[in-house]
């Protein structure tokens, strides 16, 4: 038995050693955030609503907290950058008011009583703020200079003409601070600037169905402004590192891809009816017909068309009533079935037809070439968001087991207005920018863990079926959103 005791003791010791002594060291070669010797003590974002963290047709703190510039600033800080507090113009929830109703402009999913027709829009929340919460106390420009609605011309604008609806509140030029995005950047003297403007030079045209404004910004103007912007930026801020972004094609966002296929299915179910619609420049009797057989079809129907999609085939003049037409346009007869009769056609303002798609597409392509050319000349890094979103539109994007797509609501990347990103969409934008920054400037900034960002809130109890879903967004819900481009 002596052996037995000895051996049992050895076994026991080994067992205990196995349980306690095998704490393993962290593996080598794990990613480590660092700036790799690059100095970044100030980061400023120049941009539009995408930079501002505008989401679901509103500007509100719980979304702004996850704007792509803020996410980048957080990652920079984690890599050792001394950017300090990244100041943003936070609108306390529920965010900015709709100018007409005075209620919060942001959209939520209001009702899922009929899961196939979710009702989306502002739900009458009372705003708690009319200006950013720290506007009165912050005696310097914001680090996030994203101006919802601002076109490229907004960068140098000191008057407010091109600063979008939030220019006065964010730039605060009247309060004695620098009067333009450019002057604010110059005052802040950052080492890093993300400059993503230009979307609104075509987006306003597209989201209003090619009606308001009636054309994208002319290429010569765009090229001149872009050159001027990067050139003055470089000359005014010593050693500034600039990252610019291309403009995604409008046909890749759910604002244009959600309603068309549903209308197409509806017409097909009604025995292959044709949709009569007004082409570019038309306002009266339809001259063309088409069938929606192609989900990426011609014409694209704007998400603003959602309240009228359900009325196809009924005798209605709702569009003209909603939009305050003093009289019906010549030849229009609203006693005829809407959308399926040439005398009561689908309105021009709610579609992008082939001519308009071509115009928007040409503008995007021209602008992007200009952006790349100017950026190369000025030594700026380029994030090709157009290529990135074209790829996401075709293939989706898999992150940590989740496949994100550009589908409305269910895709996870686009907020309820169909144009602006969700928190996770902003995470994807931030990661693309960080990737380019690391490649171009040699930093080793780590990416955002997209899954850790709050997902779009969807009341699941009565969830919509994605293949049948035709959202309903009441006509005037869009007023605040469309006002972004009404300069």
């Amino acid at each position: 038995m002596k052996y037995v005791n000895n051996i049992l003791m050895v076994v026991t010791l080994l067992f205990v050693a196995g349980l306690t002594g095998c704490t393993t060291d962290a593996p080598a070669d794990l990613p480590k955030a660092s700036l790799n010797g690059v100095t970044i003590n100030k980061y400023v974002a120049v941009g539009n609503s995408l930079a501002a963290g505008y989401q679901s047709s509103g500007l509100y703190k719980s979304a702004q907290k996850y704007s792509y510039p803020k996410l980048i600033a957080d990652q920079l800080t984690a890599a050792g950058a001394g950017v300090g507090t990244f100041e943003q113009p936070y609108w306390s929830d529920p965010g900015n008011p709709d100018p007409k109703t005075g209620k919060a402009a942001r959209y939520v999913i209001i009702s899922l009583a009929d899961p196939s027709n979710p009702v989306i829009g502002p739900k009458g929340e009372t705003p708690t703020a009319t200006s950013p919460e720290n506007a009165a106390t912050l005696a310097r420009p914001y680090d996030n200079l994203g101006l919802p609605g601002a076109p490229l011309a907004g960068f140098m604008d000191t008057v407010g003409t091109y600063q979008g609806g939030f220019g006065a509140a964010i730039i605060r030029g009247a309060g004695g601070l620098p009067k333009s995005q450019f002057r604010a950047v110059k005052a802040l003297q950052p080492q890093l600037v993300t400059f993503w403007l230009g979307n609104n030079d075509v987006l306003g045209y597209a989201t209003t169905g090619g009606t308001s404004p009636a054309a994208p910004t002319p290429l010569a103007t765009f090229t001149f402004l872009y050159n001027q912007a990067l050139d003055t930026l470089k000359k005014s801020v010593a050693n500034v590192k600039i990252i610019v972004g291309t403009i995604p094609n409008v046909t890749t966002i759910p604002f244009f891809t959600t309603i068309g296929p549903k209308v197409g299915a509806k017409l097909a179910a009604a025995g292959g009816l044709a949709l009569y619609y007004q082409k570019k420049g038309e306002s009266g009797v339809a001259s063309g017909t088409t069938k929606f057989t192609n989900p990426s079809g011609d014409p694209l129907i704007c998400l603003t068309g959602s309240p009228y999609a359900g009325l196809i085939g009924t005798a209605t003049g709702k569009f003209y009533k909603d939009n305050g037409f003093p009289a019906l346009p010549a030849g229009i007869d609203t006693t005829k079935p809407f959308g399926v009769h040439p005398q009561n056609p689908w309105p021009n303002a709610l579609t992008l037809d082939s001519a308009e798609i071509a115009i928007a597409g040409q503008a995007v392509s021209d602008f992007n070439n200009a952006i790349k050319t100017v950026a190369a000349a000025q030594g700026a890094a380029v994030v090709d968001f157009n290529a990135i979103f074209t790829d996401i539109n075709a293939n989706g994007k898999l992150i940590s087991g989740v496949k994100y797509t550009s589908a409305y609501i269910t895709g996870g990347l686009f907020s309820l207005d169909g144009v602006h990103p969700t928190n996770r969409g902003a995470g994807v934008l931030a990661n693309e920018i960080i990737k380019v920054m690391n490649a171009k400037f040699g930093t080793n900034v780590t990416s955002v863990d997209v899954s850790s960002l709050p997902a779009l809130e969807i009341p699941l109890g009565k969830y919509m079926t994605s293949d049948k879903m035709l959202p309903y967004i009441a006509p005037h819900s869009w007023d605040s959103f469309l006002k972004l481009w009404q300069n």
């Binding site: 052996y3 037995v4 051996i7 049992l8 076994v11 080994l14 067992f15 196995g18 349980l19 095998c22 393993t24 962290a26 593996p27 070669d29 794990l30 990613p31 480590k32 955030a33 899961p115 898999l398 992150i399 940590s400 087991g401 989740v402 496949k403 994100y404 797509t405 589908a407 609501i409 269910t410 895709g411 996870g412 990661n431 900034v445 780590t446 990416s447 955002v448 863990d449 997209v450 899954s451 850790s452 997902a455 779009l456 969807i458 699941l460 109890g461 009565k462 969830y463 919509m464 079926t465 994605s466 293949d467």
Partner: protein, 396 residues
């Protein structure tokens, strides 16, 4: 879009339900203490698992039963594809697969037996809010093999054995789905059948060879998918899947170095390449979701020995277990990697009829850094496991 959710649901959900990490080869403390190198001897009731021919050379009837206490520990550093090096520790769990064998010699040459054990089992659970929650939160698997077995001793050199396997399997998986962040719990169970066979040939009283084969078992599992909260969008309700447990084979050689000292070396083959994909059918929308697995055939090398001193036996062993999951298909549902195992153990004969075996196995998984994974969740996995086995034997 129609099947997006369905596809997302199972894209990863059941990936590794029956993977290498869930295959258990500890089915008797005496064999386990010797690195599982047992197919050329199979002296006890666990022959029903390792090599049914072993029963043919046994002199007495027996009851042999025990359990293995398994305490795995796993850590994931990542996701590195997002530049993260966050340390995520798997929730600690203890598993206790059982093994029960009863054997009886009808004649000197003809032996019968029955075994109940859990050749596939275990589970993983990660913290509920970790960033891999869309891939997996928790998985549990249990299987029971009921194996009536017959062995026939042809002569003093050769014994043959064959067994039938009736198999029950239960799987539960849960994770979070996006969009909506609902939790899905998939519970499936089913049964299947298979067989096993083996031979032991004693070239000399000192040298013996053993070989055994266990067929694959196809389990037609059915059950339900439950979403919390639910939604018209989700394929809630009846679900089914067909799962194939791979075939496995042992080839071993044992040698009596001294009258009281034996050594054995085994090669075990596991035919995981049969696991090419997993298809889950959802009754609600009659959809099938197929996710590719493309596992590889693997092997396990086992060596071990036993030294007898009167009533006491001292055992030791080593094993190398090659994992079947390629880097591309690695995921936190089953953090697998090549494993090295060190075994020790003791046997003690309390009296002529009664004996007890204890064993200990320490498994070290190689650190495994994976990139460009199917689920876009890259990182480095570290794992170890402590296994403690105990069996009681009664001969009659």
């Amino acid at each position: 879009m129609k099947y997006l959710f369905t596809v997302l649901l199972v894209l990863t959900v059941s990936t590794a339900v029956f993977a290498g990490g869930f295959q258990l080869n500890e089915h008797g403390a005496r064999a386990m203490a010797q690195g599982g190198a047992w197919a050329a001897r199979a002296y006890d009731g666990s022959a029903i698992f390792f090599n049914p021919a072993g029963l043919g050379f046994q002199k007495q009837g027996s009851v042999y039963l025990g359990t293995t206490i398994i305490m795995p520990k796993s850590t994931f550093y990542g996701p590195t594809n997002l530049g993260q090096a966050t340390k995520n520790e798997m929730v600690a769990q203890t598993f206790t697969p059982i093994n029960i064998y009863a054997t009886y010699p009808i004649t000197e040459n003809l032996h019968v037996g029955i075994g109940v054990n859990n050749p596939y089992g275990l589970g993983t659970e990660w913290p509920s809010n970790w960033s891999g929650r869309y891939i997996t939160q928790k998985v549990d698997l249990t299987s029971f093999y009921f194996s009536p077995t017959v062995a026939y001793k042809v002569n003093d050199q050769l014994s043959l054995g064959v067994g039938f396997n009736y198999v029950t399997g239960d799987v539960s998986l849960s994770r979070i789905v996006s969009p909506g962040d609902a939790k899905v719990a998939l519970d499936l169970s089913g049964t299947g059948t298979g067989f096993n066979a083996g031979a032991i040939f004693k070239v000399t009283p000192e040298l013996s060879f053993g070989a055994s084969y266990r067929s694959s078992v196809k389990i037609d599992a059915s059950g339900s998918a439950k979403f919390t909260p639910t939604s018209a969008l989700f394929p809630e309700g009846d679900a089914s899947a067909s799962l194939e447990l791979p075939a496995t084979a042992f080839v071993g050689v044992a040698y009596k170095v001294m009258e009281n000292f034996e050594l054995e070396a085994d090669y075990q083959y596991v035919g995981w390449s049969s696991y090419k994909e997993l298809a889950i059918k959802f009754k609600k929308d009659n959809s099938t979701s197929v996710s590719p697995k493309n596992y590889e055939n693997v092997y396990i090398l086992r060596i071990g020995g036993e030294y007898t001193m009167d009533a006491l036996q001292i055992r030791f062993g080593y094993l190398f277990d090659k994992n079947p999951v390629t880097d591309h298909y690695s995921e936190p549902l089953l953090p697998d990697a090549d494993r090295n195992g060190i075994n020790i153990g003791l046997g003690y004969k309390i009296n002529e009829a009664l004996h007890v075996d204890v064993s200990y196995l320490f498994l070290k998984f190689a650190d495994r850094a994976v990139t460009n994974t199917e689920v876009q969740f890259d990182g480095t996995y570290q794992a170890t496991a402590n296994l403690f086995g105990i069996n009681f034997g009664y001969n009659f």
